[in-house]
């Protein structure tokens, strides 16, 4: 089993943190290996930004994604740049539909998540759009691991924003349960 996930958007959205949280979750799975790599431009805010997470039950050699199973897009520019790496027959495309209009054909396996809209309008802080998104995609990456995700998110964010982040995470998860692809 080798699962490859790409999170991508622009600097400041917390893209790399999404990958870091996924990687840290794997401390709770003794039989699984994980490799999280990141690429970003010289200026972290506003520039293109991406992280690859590979999870496997075997030792991970190539540490980046070369045949992604899941791609999570948080910006239009990221979509333009990285969508060609996806395989229309197998890659599930998750996208923030506040930032991205639609996924062009031939991709049909898609899941729209209103992460930035919910973060801005309902949670009153767009900074948690990434955490909402994590809540919405966790079952697609590691099924039945939402409790572990909660614990790892709690350890990965500043304490003063814990309540907000937990709310975002739960809201994202609820969104998935109500709208799963």
């Amino acid at each position: 089993m080798r699962k490859e996930i790409i999170f991508t958007g622009f600097g400041g959205q917390g893209i790399i943190l999404m990958g870091v949280i996924m990687a840290r979750m794997m401390e709770h799975f003794p039989d699984l290996h994980v490799a999280q790599a990141q690429s970003y431009g010289p200026a972290s805010r506003g520039g293109a930004c991406r992280t690859d997470v590979v999870i496997s039950d075997q030792q991970i050699n190539y540490p980046k994604s070369s045949r992604p199973d899941l791609m999570v897009f948080m910006s239009e520019e990221a979509l333009k740049r990285h969508l060609p790496e996806g395989d229309p027959t197998r890659t599930l495309i998750v996208y923030d539909n506040t930032m991205i209009g639609s996924i062009p054909p031939p991709f049909t396996k898609t899941f729209a998540v209103p992460a930035t809209r919910v973060a801005e309008e309902e949670l009153k802080n767009r900074i948690v759009a990434n955490i909402f998104m994590l809540g919405a995609v966790i079952e697609l990456m590691v099924p039945d691991s939402f409790d572990i995700l909660k614990e790892v998110v709690r350890k990965s964010i500043p304490q003063k924003s814990e309540a907000l982040n937990m709310k975002a995470l739960e809201a994202g998860h609820d969104y998935y349960l109500a709208n799963k692809p």
Binding site: G19, V20, A23, R24, M26, E27, P30, H33, V34, A35, Q36, A37, Q38, S39, Y40, G41, P42, I60, N61, Y62, P63, K64, S66
Partner: protein
């Protein structure tokens, strides 16, 4: 099974954890992508251990203070990337000349000059060996995983003490920034090489007189021993040496390392050991090559990948043995053919084709590309 704990951490963090376990209590550096995390975590952890972490005005000062801290009796290190590594070269030569054990981490990025700060590269391969002036030798280790960032750092501190030499960990952006599970053994599960101390009475001590292994014992400053430390070629008692003394001094600091390579040189083979097609790799590229070997196997293609873990002094004999029987050798590296020169020097059989699969510009090669290269260049 060793006792310890498993933690997901960045390669750069794993390096820091190992350094602290090995007893490093002095760090001096200057921030630079993609090595900054080592300075960051050192600045948080060292003060809690009564250590000292200094952000210096530049990498020249950082490296000079690392040499001084080593002579002051501590285990010391620094970390940097290409542009900073350039500035350190003079003082790395100083560390060689005054035989100061210390560890230098170079997390490589694109060059030359400022190059590509956030992208990976392997263009400092020769600089790590020949960056300072004059004849000398030192040890350079190349990790491929976060775990190896940990293991090689422990090894680097031990070798630096064993041979009284700077040891360079030549990492790259992929390895420095990757997060993986790292096994951190408990301290009592590891072996640490202590500094070699004088055994003769203080008045008989001669600072630069080596033991049979070529390594002189090293007292600390302010302990009563007469220790003339100069950067010039010296006589045994630490005065400026004449031609013969300079000759002996230089030959000794080279041979103390190169005559004992069997103690530390490491070359691995991944895949089919007798395969006629062999990749040669070092650093992060080893990982992509491994996946290429696995993909080849699935297609019925026998491949081996020779991984050079200690790149300097170049392990000629081990590499020759690892490549024995290979008819086609593809050297894969993120530069325009540096380790390839060494392979050409070592193999020297005109009937064997040595090809270069090169990636520059900050691009990390994909496993499929290795197979495509084999296919297209046939």
């Amino acid at each position: 099974m060793k006792k310890g704990r498993i933690k997901v951490m960045m390669g750069n963090e794993a390096c820091m954890e190992a350094a602290l376990l090995a007893g490093c209590r002095f760090y001096a550096g200057y921030p630079i992508t993609p090595a900054t995390e080592i300075l960051e975590v050192m600045s948080m952890r060292l003060p809690l251990l009564d250590g000292l972490c200094l952000q210096m005005e530049d990498e020249i000062a950082a490296m000079v203070s690392v040499v001084a801290a080593s002579w002051g009796g501590g285990k010391s290190m620094t970390a940097t990337s290409g542009p900073g590594f350039c500035l350190m070269q003079e003082a790395i030569g100083l560390a060689v000349a005054v035989e100061a054990p210390c560890v230098i981490v170079n997390v490589q990025r694109g060059g030359p000059a400022s190059g590509q700060s956030t992208s990976t590269a392997q263009g400092d391969f020769y600089q790590a060996r020949y960056g300072s002036n004059g004849d000398y030798s030192l040890i350079v280790l190349c990790p491929s995983t976060a775990q190896e960032m940990f293991d090689h750092t422990i090894k680097a501190f031990n070798l630096s003490e064993r041979f009284r030499t700077p040891v360079i960990i030549l990492s790259d952006e992929v390895v420095g920034h990757i997060r993986e599970k790292v096994f951190i053994p408990d301290a009592d599960q590891l072996t640490f090489v202590p500094r070699k101390r004088p055994t003769v009475p203080m008045e008989e001590f001669i600072a630069w007189k080596a033991d049979a292994d070529g390594v002189p014992p090293m007292p600390d400053f302010n302990t009563g021993y007469k220790i003339p430390v100069i950067s010039q070629a010296k006589s045994l008692d630490g005065n400026r040496g004449n031609a013969k003394e300079a000759d002996e001094n230089i030959r000794r600091i080279v041979s103390k390392i190169e005559d004992h390579m069997d103690e530390f040189a490491e070359v691995l083979i991944y895949g089919a050991e007798k395969a006629e097609t062999a990749f040669v790799t070092f650093g992060s590229v080893c990982r992509a090559a491994r996946s290429a070997v696995d993909m080849g196997r699935e297609k019925g293609l026998a491949l081996r990948s020779v991984e050079v873990k200690t790149v300097w002094p170049f392990p000629d004999e081990l590499v020759r043995r690892a490549l024995a029987g290979a008819k086609r050798i593809v050297v894969a590296e993120m530069n325009l053919g540096m380790i390839k020169r060494e392979i050409e020097r070592v193999v020297r059989q005109p009937e064997i084709k040595i090809e270069l699969f090169s990636k520059i510009g900050g691009i990390y090669p994909q496993p499929q590309e290795f197979l495509r290269f084999l296919e297209e260049k046939r």
